[in-house]
């Protein structure tokens, strides 16, 4: 039977198991939107800006582990998604973005609302397609989902010209994908695994440095088992938070520019560093020549380009974290008697780390009497018992969230790490709330970032998504101000920022607005927010000139941290 492009499109989504999409209509996608009225199996969420749709699809994916989907029109609809696509690309998040396009005969003519979105997004998608014929549609959509979710995941864009959407054909829905040049390698080479374990067992000062790959490959249980069986301390990147249970005795917290003193010291003094699904980002390595200077490095990563890109490693292992870790765990069971007797050197190493933890824990001035942003995050952690899904905006708010909300499970931490895209957190939280309707979802926000996608309050209210936003309102673009304070002689150029009355704004949107100005007001505000079954905007008026510490100044080695 012949079907139209829009019918095929929706059939494909159904076959991929898509239940929710985020989007915004327009001229060239009218037929799809019309067909949507006859597709009860898909719920469409109308955002208020296409960037919101892309971030929501991304947040949906991070919270659920599934592929996020969004649908927008050509031209401005398509260009509005670009920041969201680039965020997902930098953080390897699987999503498929469908954009409308002008009819194929008009492409290249500067037609109304035409833009070469395939050209624009080539460098920030894992792959993208312009569908030229309705006969190709089903195959391409299937490939797009396959590419997005396999190997190193990432966003895939599919551009749909209006005549393809309206065209008709008898579709062939492929069962399997055959792309001859795309075969990600999941299985880690057992010889390399063996070599790695031999090196680890000889180590005196081992450290695991895990990243987003552990979350993406759902390997956190294997990681925990591995670290425990060999008593190896674990630090993760910003992207790896939740990949190892935070309140664990082997947990070092996050490493990097705003990582803990003890995580950075451990990596600096390690003799064997085991990198698992992490990519040696410059926020993590600092001065690259002095990163982990005493360590032999093992690197497990599914993407060969991640390996030896910034730091040359001693034992490269190309493969899936889960596969590699379960091989390691099997070898450990076979080779190492339990309980393992730790060498005196290894025991001394753990003691040394404990000493660092005691000397310089994560902290702030608790006695000042001011409302400190860190205090707000601590309270959020305490009152939610660590059980919320946390998204963040970008800046100081993001770092304090990473430091003081101890994420204990994977898929509960959504933060734009690689792109650092202000405006990410709130729409991402909306996406997460759609994926996990029974969970408490909180966006830890800054007064600057929240205003980049504040319009999505309407989306949250309209669809009854009870997302909470905790604004750490310092009246500054705080992270930039911090750099100005420390490195530009306190010249606060364009960082003090006026904001509207967030409480009234929330009310105007039909959400609940709450405010706390003193430490003792924090707890009642959070409690009321948690107990309210609708979107809540909390305006915490925090100390304006607080800095995120520790901090490794740009270009310095990781053990040279500023502590206060």
């Amino acid at each position: 039977m012949k079907l139209t492009g829009s019918q095929i499109f929706l059939k494909c989504l159904e076959r991929e198991g898509v239940k929710h999409i985020f989007g915004f209509p327009g001229g060239v996608v009218l037929d799809i939107y019309d067909e949507l009225t006859r597709a009860p199996f898909i719920k469409h969420f109308l955002v208020r800006h296409e960037q919101g749709a892309a971030h929501a699809a991304d947040g949906y994916s991070r919270a659920s582990g599934k592929v996020g989907v969004c649908l927008v029109t050509s031209g401005p609809g398509a260009t509005n998604t670009v920041s969201g696509i680039a965020s997902a690309y930098m953080d390897s998040i699987p999503m498929v973005v469908f954009t409308g396009q002008v009819p194929t005969p008009l492409i290249g003519n500067d037609a109304f609302q035409e833009v070469d979105i395939v050209g624009i997004t080539r460098p920030c998608t894992k792959h993208n397609y312009l569908v030229k014929h309705v006969d190709d549609l089903a195959r391409i959509i299937h490939e797009a989902f396959h590419i997005a979710r396999t190997g190193r995941p990432g966003p895939v864009l599919v551009d749909l010209p209006k005549d393809v959407i309206q065209g008709q054909t008898v579709p062939k829905f492929p069962e399997r994908v055959r792309i001859k040049s795309y075969n990600p390698n999941y299985h880690a080479n057992p010889k390399q695994i063996k070599k790695a374990l031999d090196l680890i067992l000889k180590a005196h000062r081992p450290v695991i440095y895990a990243g987003g790959g552990v979350i993406l490959s759902k390997a956190s249980e294997e990681l925990t088992k591995f670290a425990q069986s060999l008593e190896i301390p674990v630090t993760t990147t910003l992207m790896g938070l939740g990949g190892f249970p935070a309140p664990h005795r082997l947990w070092l917290g996050m490493l990097g520019m705003h990582g803990t003193y003890f995580a950075n010291m451990s990596v600096h003094h390690a003799d064997v560093l085991i990198a698992i699904g992490s990519r040696f980002d410059d926020r993590v390595t600092g001065k690259i020549e002095e990163f982990a200077p005493h360590a032999k490095i093992i690197h497990i990563d599914i993407d060969p380009t991640s390996i030896s890109k910034n730091v040359v490693v001693d034992i490269p292992i190309v493969g899936d974290c889960q596969d590699a870790l379960s091989q390691l765990n099997e070898l450990v069971v076979a080779q190492v008697p339990t309980p393992r007797e730790l060498s005196p050197a290894h025991q001394a190493w753990l003691a040394e780390i404990d000493q660092w933890k005691r000397e310089h824990p994560l902290t702030y001035d608790r006695a000042s009497g001011d409302l400190k942003p860190q205090f707000v995050v601590e309270k959020l952690y305490e009152l939610t018992q660590g059980n919320a899904i946390i998204s963040t905006e970008v800046g100081q708010n993001q770092m304090w969230a990473a430091q003081f909300y101890h994420i204990n499970r994977p898929n509960r931490w959504l933060s734009s790490g690689g792109l650092g895209c202000m405006g990410y957190g709130f729409p991402a939280a909306i996406g997460a709330q759609v994926a996990c309707p029974d969970d408490l979802v909180i966006d830890i926000a800054g007064d600057g970032s929240i205003q980049m996608n504040i319009q999505e309050l309407a989306t949250a209210v309209e669809y009854d998504l009870p997302v909470k936003v905790a604004i750490l309102n310092n009246s500054f673009l705080g992270m930039v101000r911090q750099w100005q304070q420390l490195f530009y002689d306190r010249r606060y150029s364009q960082t003090p920022m006026w904001s509207p009355d967030f409480v009234k704004l929330a009310e105007a949107y039909g959400a609940l607005g709450l405010r706390a100005e003193k430490p003792e007001e924090v707890e009642p505000v959070i409690r009321e927010a948690i107990n309210t079954r609708k979107p809540v905007l909390m305006d915490f008026r925090v100390a304006p000139e607080e800095c995120v510490m520790p901090m490794v100044p740009a270009g310095a080695p990781m053990h040279k941290m500023l502590l206060t």
Partner: protein
Amino acid sequence: MRHVISVSVDNEPGVLSRVTGLFSGRGFNIESLCVAATMNQEVSHITLVTAGNEMIIEQIIKQLRKLINVIKVVDLTPTDHVEREMALVKVKAEDRQRAEVLRIADIFRCRVVDVSPNTYTLEITGTSEKLNAVLGLLKTIGIQEVVRTGSLAMQRTKKE
């Protein structure tokens, strides 16, 4: 160091810009690039000359392999391979110089592909060194115009 890399790609629109976009976006350099269809309609072939230290060349090769439309990447540099370039050169040649141009063409096995009363157009094939040598000689006589391809390269068959 200079590397000659052979790349097989899907013969589809946009693929070349994925490859060149990768180079410009990541700051890798391209010294030359030759692209054409192959015997197999679905595959195009690119010979690419680039330069960089070992770590960069390794990244270039891995990044190329990562592109979905790239089928095969071989670094020919460490292998025994043949390399050829071609140039068309229009030389100003009058009176006595006409014989000189033909003599040079003969020595270097160039072909004369166009003749006019005061110019010759030669086709030169060979390694880039040979092309440079010929062009150097012709320059003293007077070159009006040159166009050059990039390098083409192919692995030699291993002798048993």
